[in-house]
Symmetry: C4
Subunit: 257 residues, 4 copies
Amino acid sequence: MKDTYIKELTQIELNNPILIEGLPGLGLVGKIATRYLIKKLNAKKFAHLYSPHFPYFVLVNKKGNVRLLRGSFHFWKNKEGGNDLILFTGDSQSQTIEGQYEIAGRMLDFAQKHNVKTIVTIGGYRREAKDKPKVFAAATVQDLLDKALQAGAAVSNSGSPIVGTAGLILGLARFKKINALCLLGETRGYLPDPLAARSVLEVLKTTLNFEIDLTGLNEEIAKAETMVTRLQKIEEKRALQAEETRKEEDKKTTYIS
Amino acid sequence: MKDTYIKELTQIELNNPILIEGLPGLGLVGKIATRYLIKKLNAKKFAHLYSPHFPYFVLVNKKGNVRLLRGSFHFWKNKEGGNDLILFTGDSQSQTIEGQYEIAGRMLDFAQKHNVKTIVTIGGYRREAKDKPKVFAAATVQDLLDKALQAGAAVSNSGSPIVGTAGLILGLARFKKINALCLLGETRGYLPDPLAARSVLEVLKTTLNFEIDLTGLNEEIAKAETMVTRLQKIEEKRALQAEETRKEEDKKTTYIS
Amino acid sequence: MKDTYIKELTQIELNNPILIEGLPGLGLVGKIATRYLIKKLNAKKFAHLYSPHFPYFVLVNKKGNVRLLRGSFHFWKNKEGGNDLILFTGDSQSQTIEGQYEIAGRMLDFAQKHNVKTIVTIGGYRREAKDKPKVFAAATVQDLLDKALQAGAAVSNSGSPIVGTAGLILGLARFKKINALCLLGETRGYLPDPLAARSVLEVLKTTLNFEIDLTGLNEEIAKAETMVTRLQKIEEKRALQAEETRKEEDKKTTYIS
Amino acid sequence: MKDTYIKELTQIELNNPILIEGLPGLGLVGKIATRYLIKKLNAKKFAHLYSPHFPYFVLVNKKGNVRLLRGSFHFWKNKEGGNDLILFTGDSQSQTIEGQYEIAGRMLDFAQKHNVKTIVTIGGYRREAKDKPKVFAAATVQDLLDKALQAGAAVSNSGSPIVGTAGLILGLARFKKINALCLLGETRGYLPDPLAARSVLEVLKTTLNFEIDLTGLNEEIAKAETMVTRLQKIEEKRALQAEETRKEEDKKTTYIS
């Protein structure tokens, strides 16, 4: 394998499909959101993306079976006649600069082949404040951005870069005459963040005007919050101990001088 | 996108054009100088350069619109009959070694196609002394260098390398039978340096014998100087505090022994 | 040399051959195991694999002769009519990501050309417990895995990656319709580990149903154990001294405060 | 420029030429030795090697003229009817792994084109002992190695790698049916080492059976020795001061406990 390539498992005909992309990144926001959609919509896998720019290891499943790192395309037939969906997620982003451009490029070729006119990419955004996590939006065309803003997103901060596949797909989409929107969920980023993923999905469903029940994420969110609280307590305890130690040492020093 | 490529937005006919290049680098000297020329001459964009060797992120503008990192070519029609200008600047230099050579190579192909006979590249040069910042010149042919020296530049120090696109264009220009000059403005380099950019432009306008009002840079220069002064004061204060702390600690130690 | 390539030294006809691969990695398990097979079976070299992705140095032998880093294919004719073997080992793994994919790909092309239907790759696995080192197995098909499990292997831990050539060959084998099994011997990993290599070979010979005397590894195992014991004693002594030093310093501190 | 390439400046006919290569490396041994040969033999430049794998900067000469990093081939006509020489040196080695293989490969293509049957590469070897610096030899064929040993070289240590172009040329020479010898001069390596270069040239002239006066290196050797002595004195002084400081601090500590 010298280049990134996409292997189609079944030939399908889709009705005006929209592609939604979410690879691992900050807080795993994109991956959690896309996986939830796939599971909830019971979307079916129809193609794999392989690349020599992925890390050079393979994964073992519970049965001892092995596979390459890859991305997977799933489709969902919209029975109410609206847009069908193509949902893409995977194990990893490219490990090289050129690979990042190559993978985003191949995905766009594939989207074009399947007559995709609109792409939504999902990612995380480093959260500074402690308020409710926002969702930031950026797009290649104004009307797509407007829809996201009406659905509750804020305009992505000017000047702040969108890194990786979620960003490059937007950058390269222009050349294929495909419109693209990027939704970034605010996240602390150091742990998988289903809360940020849910925020993004809330914006997404209104933007694209389709129904999906998001309560299935609540349990995961509760678990993640417990984990964060536990880590914070450990952190606070450590800080306290460090403070104690510092005071002890200060005392010693005071006695001396 | 597997290779660097240039996308022309409009077809133009230029009269004996000179190409001026200034990408981000030390003190942003090249970029500030070229952007000033573009703005002041009201030059028009006519081509973009894209490369998979640029960093793998996209930029968001104030309106939430997204674009790839790129370089941009602008043209200016000289109404007095002298050389037209092509002005090139961009967001970034290549992140890989091979990309550096590839991008400089593509720019030269493009220059050749547009019948360019002379190129001037602009960059920064690490400033050692505290005197008025000099402009250093290096060239592929003697008469171009002589013009720059007569215009106030000093000969670039022998042995000191010119790094990145500004240098490689000169190195590769020979193979295309294009003459090239590099002007490096002395700069501290850790902040955008419009003063160094103005010094370069003063040399440039005399070298190429065209008129341009540089007073538009003065405000930016004043702002940059205020910033530098402020940073220096913070630095001095820090140094003083560090000195105090050191003395305190010395005292303690003295008491002990 | 722009690409990895395989140079055949002699043309051979093999009977339903199985390829066994063992390159340097954790504890050198794969290399020690494969080299032992080659020596014990008196397998003959018939091809070399060269790659610009190997490290850029050459090796000197005792006679002052020089050669590139490379991999070597050996064959063994099974006189009892069962599967012949192709045994592959080498000096190094690829130093680049793309090279890892390229080398595994070329090996599979070569295997296909020689009508290989089954590949076994050998590697090391970081050992946590102090018990007898286990052998972990993963495979592309269930019946191959089952054979390894019946031969004493445990199922490789789900989620833990198999890094490098031993893993990628399994990942890529699918595309060539070749079945592949990976055997990983548990090892501390910081020293060559012939004990782990023997554990793997015990599983391998039962899995593939061929006879080989493994007592030839015992001397090497004894030597390695002596080395480990010696290193552990040095380590313990160091730890004791560090403890002593710490206590001395504690005393001083106590006197002060 | 996407690949390494060689640009011939003049067409020459050489009589059974031997290629001698010396690029920058440990102690600059190869470059100093080759440059001395070029100067002393008054060899003429006839080709340049350029590569996108060299570092991405250009060099400025005293006149303010600019050029790419490159390697240069020079030729020397042997008036006594023996082998002519091709002498190769340059500014830098490749900065990438693949580039190392590519450059060595192109040099061998070029050598083959000019009917070269023998290549000698020159480099440095990390010196451990304080004795007179030795010259180590390794070769692709025994008789070439024997000649070097008879000329005073020692057999290169088995197992120790020869890194970079000097090594890869030997590794790749086999495929072109060219014989190659590598001579490594022992050197401390942290400073340019003309003494090691002279040791290599002494072996080289006997091995290839041609006359050259090496006294021209003596002045450079004397200068280098002065430099080394000076650096050693500074080093010793530093060590002494550090010892003093340590004793002072020990005293303090003793007073306390």
